[in-house]
Amino acid sequence: MTFPADQAGAGPDYSGPAPAAVPSSGAMADTADTADTADTADTKWILETRGITKRFGAVEALSNVNFHVAAGQVTALLGDNGAGKSTLIKCLAGIWEPEEGQTLWDGNPVRIRGPKVATGLGIETVYQDLALCDNLDIVQNMFLGRELTSSRLLDEDSMEKQARRTLAELSVTTVRSIRQAVGSLSGGQRQAVAVAKAVMQNARMVIMDEPTAALGVAQTAMVLDLIRTLRSRGIAVVVISHNLNDVFQVADRIAVLYLGRLAVEAPVSAFDQQSAVYAITTGRFDATAVGA
């Protein structure tokens, strides 16, 4: 897949290091806890969790999870229903706070106590339900909760300009009017608005929960393109998906959750469809199966 020339380079705002080369590793470690050792030492983690645990009453939704997100790469988060994927990203988005463990952002320990803390760090989340207001228009949704004002009145002109610029940067060009109600958009367009909303706030990491689950083939392709555009702008993307085809199309790294544990995380080259399915369904990762 190619990108327009003006998007081929890294995003202008991004000053982090270039994405680490993905090792084509046959030397995958075979135990889950050390799977990430396959990454080269100079892989730069924008986000890292160390042993985070989150309980809902008696249910341990996350147990001792060590999850890594590489700067400027697409990380796919896989797992069966109830594996804890949504819980993990909610911990990163500040919806929940884990009971145990530590989260590092740019290598520094942080406590993500609420959504505002997360967005303050540059973590933006696009939820499965998108969290858009159907009765508001595209601009209004993109700026919801952070409206621009001048002398206490909404500055619609500035907001519309900025929203238009962001949509153009993401090559979202065919919405009929930027002032149409979001309820009138198609699934793919709604996803685009939700992503644009996230990106507009100088996001450094965008989390997407099942962005293609409700979409048809053509719309899915658009969303995958959108993910690539984000990456080309130097933004780290964490994407939850049940569709392995999608995952193998866009992901640089794959992490698999199994019953709240991180079963494996490794560069995408360490997986094929079979080993990924095996990890998702059994929680085990068998490196020797790769390429066999």
């Binding site: 327009p4 858009l132 207001c133 508001l136 919801l144 009145l153 090559s171 149409q180 198609s186 393109d225």
Partner: protein, 438 residues
């Protein structure tokens, strides 16, 4: 190349219409390129049940024609001015209700909250205090606003449904109204307190001079036109979304015609005694207009207003956007109380007194009906202050016309019920058609 069209495909196949796009939600004002486009887009919207105010405006015309054919005095200047005055209470209460309806909440207490505000205002202006008129009004509005805040806090903090909280309010504030009216009006007897402050009486019963009415009309229309045209020009210069030029002109013309009609009607002599002409725009028209402009700006041009719509549209999305739902909801209930208080003051001025007989239950039902007839959704997220203005006019027109024809209260209630039902049904039927077709 990422192209955000579901219809674009790699092999460049001809685009097909996207079935997921709900055209009815497209606002023609933002998507139309010309006035012709705009009219066509409206056609689509009406067929899809997004008819907005069209049915109610047509309904109003039908009602007016019927009444006029029955009683030729209906369209006389005197009666129409009277009708404007009668509609003020319904419009103000309807606007009060819009704040909470937009959130998907309801406030059943506003009739009696208005009554309490009326009593407080009258009592403050009366002996022994004899406070000036503005102190009296502020006192009444502060009380009604505090009541709104109290009810809002119970709704948001204790998470009791607003229907229940304000149903309790409906009973409780009626009790408070009776208590206050009996105490304050005790010497006069009958739980009725006369309003003696002449300025407070003039709120409804006083008129602008004829010249002042015309001047205000010219200034107001010119200001409105300048505002729209300059805004459009500025937005066009910055290549922002602009409504079609013809639409802006149509809006200005509509406002000019409506304004001219009101001023012309009110400026005609409606006095019965030849030597003593009664003419001029009643102050209350300006009070309602000012409230309408203020609340429309608040909803349309401030963060608070944006958040009200957001919460009504998708409360969870609003919460995740970091909006403090409790604070916005409580503020909306406060504004509902404030506006209801103003309605109470106006009602008191209109009646020249306030008594424990105020039927707050009927008033609140008319208020909800006014908002809903105009097109406000009971499920939140959709509605405008303008809807309450039109709905309030419809209700006042029915009451006024039926009274002229000499029909009984029983018939009035039933006709109002039918109009409300018809307005809601037109909407629901069209909506059902649109879902069946798609």
């Amino acid at each position: 190349m990422t192209r955000f069209s579901e219809t674009s495909t790699d092999n460049g196949a001809a685009p097909t219409p996207d079935p997921e796009v709900v055209t009815s939600l497209l606002d023609p004002a933002t998507t139309a390129e010309s006035i012709g486009d705009y009219v066509r887009a409206w056609g689509v919207r009406i067929r899809n049940g997004e008819s907005g105010m069209l049915p109610v405006v047509l309904g109003l015309v039908v009602i007016v024609v019927i009444f006029q054919s029955q009683k030729s005095v209906f369209l006389s200047a005197g009666n129409l001015t009277n009708l404007f005055i009668q509609s003020a209470t319904f419009i103000l209460l309807g606007m009060a209700e819009v704040f909470v309806l937009l959130l998907g909440e309801i406030d059943l207490s506003i009739g009696y909250v208005g009554g309490v505000a009326g009593v407080v205002t009258v009592a403050t202006a009366a002996p022994p205090g004899n406070h000036p008129w503005w102190v009296a009004i502020i006192a009444g509005l502060v009380v009604s606003t505090l009541i709104g805040i109290l009810q809002g806090l119970v709704v948001t903090r204790l998470r009791v449904p607003s229907f229940v909280v304000t149903l309790a309010g409906l009973l409780g504030w009626e009790g408070m109204l009776i208590f206050l009216a009996d105490r304050e009006g005790g010497t006069n007897g009958g739980g009725t307190i006369r309003l003696s402050n002449s300025i407070l009486l003039d709120l409804v019963n006083g008129n602008l001079s004829v010249a002042a009415g015309w001047v205000l009309l010219v200034v107001g229309v010119a200001g409105f036109a300048a505002f729209l045209l300059l805004r459009d020009r500025h937005r066009r210069a910055h290549s922002l979304v602009v409504p079609p030029f013809g639409l802006t002109i149509a809006r200005i013309v509509a406002v000019a015609i409506a304004g001219f009609a009101v001023v012309a009607i009110c400026n005609a002599n409606r006095g019965r005694i030849v030597s003593h002409p009664v003419q001029g725009v009643p102050w209350v028209v300006l009070i309602v207009l000012g409230t309408f402009i203020a609340w429309t700006s608040l909803l349309g041009r401030t963060r608070f207003g944006r958040y009200v719509y957001a919460i009504g549209g998708n409360a969870e999305a609003a919460r995740r956007a970091g909006i403090n739902l409790g604070r916005i909801r409580t503020a909306a209930f406060a504004l509902t109380g404030l506006t209801a208080g103003l309605a109470g003051v106006i009602l008191t001025s209109q009646l020249g007194s306030i008594s424990s007989n105020v039927d707050g239950g009927e008033l609140v039902l008319y208020a909800v009906a006014a908002a809903v007839i105009g097109g406000t959704s009971l499920f939140g997220g959709r509605g405008k202050m303008l809807y309450a203005v039109v709905g309030g006019l419809v209700i006042a027109t029915i009451a006024n016309g039926m009274g002229l024809i000499g029909l009984s209260a029983s018939a009035q209630y039933m006709v109002t019920a039918l109009v409300l039902l018809a307005a809601a049904s037109v909407d629901a039927l069209a909506r059902r058609n649109s879902t069946r077709n798609s």
